[in-house]
């Protein structure tokens, strides 16, 4: 995405006791038979679809040796790997810079000085409302910047703004008592932020932050549209080669799993962190028992 996600937390895993069990009874023998029948039927339908696609692939000659031969050449393998390397390079730059910009903008939005707050709010709102591609094109075309810096700058502006909102929400979600206690200990504004609020907010928001990095990774493919020589660009070069009979489909078949695999790994990591956090006592501030009347003297109850 593109920048599609809105930073929603990754979906929780399915447990036997989650929502779905509330929607239907535990099936009895007849329902089980019926469900089995549905299962068989739907599987047959899906398999038939897949078979039809395979048939199309074969009948339009997508599996001819011609179309798959390019992948056996070392030069082409290097081209694909270089493209993958460029994608990862753009991702690395964009993610580090987005985190930095997000930190700066979030600090700005939480500032006590009104002009600073106002300026950061305008920045964040504007860059979140613009399509990433418009920014990338603007930087590339109007400011005449090289493809890689243009791509990284566009991704940074967008994801930095989204992350700024994430950080801000995280800081505001830290229990009020934490801030109050820190001030009560005589800490200064900066100390309260850096020693008390930011660490807790970051820990709580880590899954959301990683999910946002998945967006950045997906969006590196926009570099293809401004002639940055990334993974998809390498694929396009091979696919538009007449010598191999335009192997578009083989290229898609090889590139997609790698792209989707990379993003899935990162998404899965976000989910894993979220799961681990739910079990960890550190993310959940300890609950202090509410004050209640107690026996004044020991022995009374």
């Amino acid at each position: 995405m593109t920048a599609t996600e809105t930073g929603t937390a990754p979906a929780p895993g399915r447990h036997a006791d989650t929502e779905s069990t509330a929607l239907y009874d535990i099936p009895g023998p007849r329902a089980r038979r019926r469900h089995f029948l549905y299962g068989i039927l739907s599987t047959v339908v899906v398999l038939a679809l897949l078979g039809w696609i395979l048939y199309l692939l074969f009948s339009t000659g997508q599996f001819t040796a011609d179309k798959w031969s390019p992948f056996t050449y070392e030069g082409i393998q290097e081209l694909v790997l270089r493209g993958l390397g460029n994608t990862l390079k753009a991702f690395a730059y964009a993610s580090v810079l987005s985190l930095l910009l997000g930190g700066v903008l979030a600090t700005g939005r939480l500032s006590v000085h009104r002009p600073v707050r106002w300026l950061s709010t305008v920045c964040v709102e504007f860059f979140r409302a613009m399509p990433v591609l418009v920014m990338i094109f603007f930087i590339f075309v109007a400011l005449k910047v090289q493809p890689l810096p243009a791509l990284v700058a566009g991704l940074t502006l967008y994801n930095g703004s989204v992350l700024a909102e994430v950080f801000r929400t995280g800081i505001n979600a830290v229990e009020r008592g934490q801030r109050e206690a820190a001030y009560a200990l005589g800490m200064r504004k900066t100390q309260v932020m850096t020693y008390v609020l930011a660490p807790q907010a970051l820990r709580a928001m880590l899954p959301t932050i990683i999910s946002q990095l998945v967006v950045a990774l997906k969006d590196t493919s926009l570099g293809y549209l401004i002639t940055y020589e990334e993974f998809l660009h390498a694929g396009k070069l091979i696919a538009s080669n007449l010598d191999y009979d335009l192997p578009f489909i083989p290229v898609v078949m090889i590139i997609s799993p790698i792209y989707i695999g990379m993003c899935m790994l990162l998404s899965w990591f976000a989910t894993w962190v979220a799961k681990r956090q739910r079990r960890s006592p550190k993310t959940d501030a300890g609950h202090v028992a509410p004050p209640e009347p107690r026996p004044v003297l020991p022995g009374q109850s």
Binding site: E19, Y38, F137, L225
Partner: protein, 214 residues
Amino acid sequence: MDVLTDNFALYGKGFLGTVELTVYSSLLALVLGFLMASFRVAPVGSFRVFGTVWVTVLRNTPLTLLFFAVLLGLPRFGLVLPFEVFAVIALGCYTSAFICEALRSGINTVPKGQGEAARSLGMSFGQTLGDVVLPQAFRSVIPPIGSTLIALAKNTAIAGAFSVNELLGTYKTLSELGYSIIWTFFWIAVGYLIITLSISALFNVLEKRWGIAR
């Protein structure tokens, strides 16, 4: 300023192209997302698997790659459709995964007792989901669906780079005509702002009418 006044028709055409793409893709995404959400909570295992695979794959696919595969790959099967239709298919399928997840988290916000009560009245799965749970889930998913559709509107820009008529694509024509690039982009940005702000205003109204009072 004269960029806009001289080329109002061109801008208008691009703007309408973006609006059309957004509307059609939204409809497709909502229908597919609703279907996949039903699949993902269904009692039949294979439906659940299908819904999960659909959502997982599409959520982790870069949209540019999807456009590449659909617009340049499908014609190789002899499936030649206008680029606008391809763009709507790609955008609609992609966004449906996010709509599905929004709906599913909405289903989770409905108190369990509602589903249990429906079942104890003897309702079937379809009735429980369609008449009791989803109508209540809808109320809490208005904001996330709104932001998903705003994201969709922004993603239509990618279609422009694949030479579908829309707002971003107008910059090429205008820069060839020799207009100032900065102003060209300024008006493109205004166009996108109008669209995204309209969607968020619309969803604010919906939220006021049907949302859960908090």
